[in-house]
Symmetry: C2
Subunit: 215 residues, 2 copies
């Protein structure tokens, strides 16, 4: 990273380097195969210092998951302007989601795949982020329904189901985009809107989703 690694580097900065290294190693080789030696070497610190700061491989993994979850959630929230129409908010949020997961493939692998394949403790960390995303999408769909059709709100349990479906499709599309040559973030975002907003029924008759005008 080009930073000078003096003994006077602040703790937060050293920790960030350790987490950067851990996300890269765990994302590429998997949690089981990831070695603390490799993580320390990539971070440019000694292995005892990693243990001093992060305590154990489990705690390091947990810290990685939490950091990646917070960063992804922040990226999506930052892209969404609550004063715009709901469809526009969704499109902006979806683009931010796929842009972030494409630019941070190791972070996304840690968050979605590694966190879910190494025991319930880590899976619970990833589930907490998913619950926050679900609450966000639920509010968005409910407000979209109110905007379009004030007399007939979608029932709350129906909205919760639609939000669940949207999140599930976004997650699997992010995996697919990151593992399929030629699939960009923009492509994945458009596929999701075609699927989720226009629906297969419209696509079958050639009616693709078109992005709303920029704000």
């Amino acid at each position: 990273m080009g930073a000078v690694k003096s003994k006077r580097m602040p703790r937060a900065e050293r920790e960030r380097q350790m987490l950067d290294a851990a996300v890269e190693i765990i994302g590429r080789h998997g949690y089981t195969a990831a070695s603390m030696d490799d993580i320390a070497e990539l971070a440019g610190v000694s292995k005892p210092l990693v243990y001093l700061y992060l305590n154990s491989k489990d705690d390091l993994f947990t810290a990685c998951i939490r950091r990646e979850a917070a960063a992804l959630t922040r990226a999506v929230r930052a892209a969404v302007r609550p004063d715009l129409p709901a469809e526009r908010q969704l499109w902006d949020g979806v683009q931010a989601f796929f842009t972030y997961t494409a630019e941070h493939p190791d972070g996304w692998t840690v968050l979605h795949l590694q966190a879910r394949t190494h025991g319930p403790k880590f899976a619970a960390e990833a589930d907490a982020m998913r619950a926050e995303m679900a609450a966000f999408v639920t509010r968005l769909i409910a407000s979209a329904a109110r905007e379009s059709h004030p007399a007939c709100d979608l029932p709350a349990h129906e909205v919760a189901g639609l939000a669940t479906a949207l999140i599930g499709s976004a997650e699997t599309l992010a995996d697919w985009a990151n593992t399929t040559d030629g699939v960009t973030a923009a492509h994945a975002a458009t596929t999701l809107m075609n699927f989720a907003w226009s629906g297969l029924g419209n696509l079958m008759t050639g009616n693709h989703w078109t992005a709303p005008d920029p704000a």
Copy 2:
């Protein structure tokens, strides 16, 4: 199960009882917490017999994942008649999927959550089933597009993305249905068709998906 457990019970039948017990125990308590003693007791056999037949806890788990994957795939395929219109095939397949996962909640938990949270070896077993489902849905969407709009096939990579999105939303909706009071298989199936076929854009203006006429 009421079956008489004589020493002359065929091996296949005894194995089936062991797998039934293992799916129930692993589905309810998780793979890590599941004990071979409890599995043997529930199956009404001795623990050494479980090891003799299934070799190890890992192999028993792998056998559970494979059996549940095959059963779910079979249930979906059996519900779909290739001579019917594609939308009807999709609706029949979706109903069969949610009916199966609702009637076999332990099997679905083993297949989708447990298989994905205990290491890459088991996750690969679940991924093999997902790949088969994806190929099936991909063919269905491609043939639906040809039926509706013969002059303008959806490009193959677009169809693959839509199939990926559909499978991701179906999986998360099955988890949601099985863990949310009052959400039936029929409700989850309708939510998926509303989402995937009609799309949020139509739902917002009150245009819900309606089931095609039965064959």
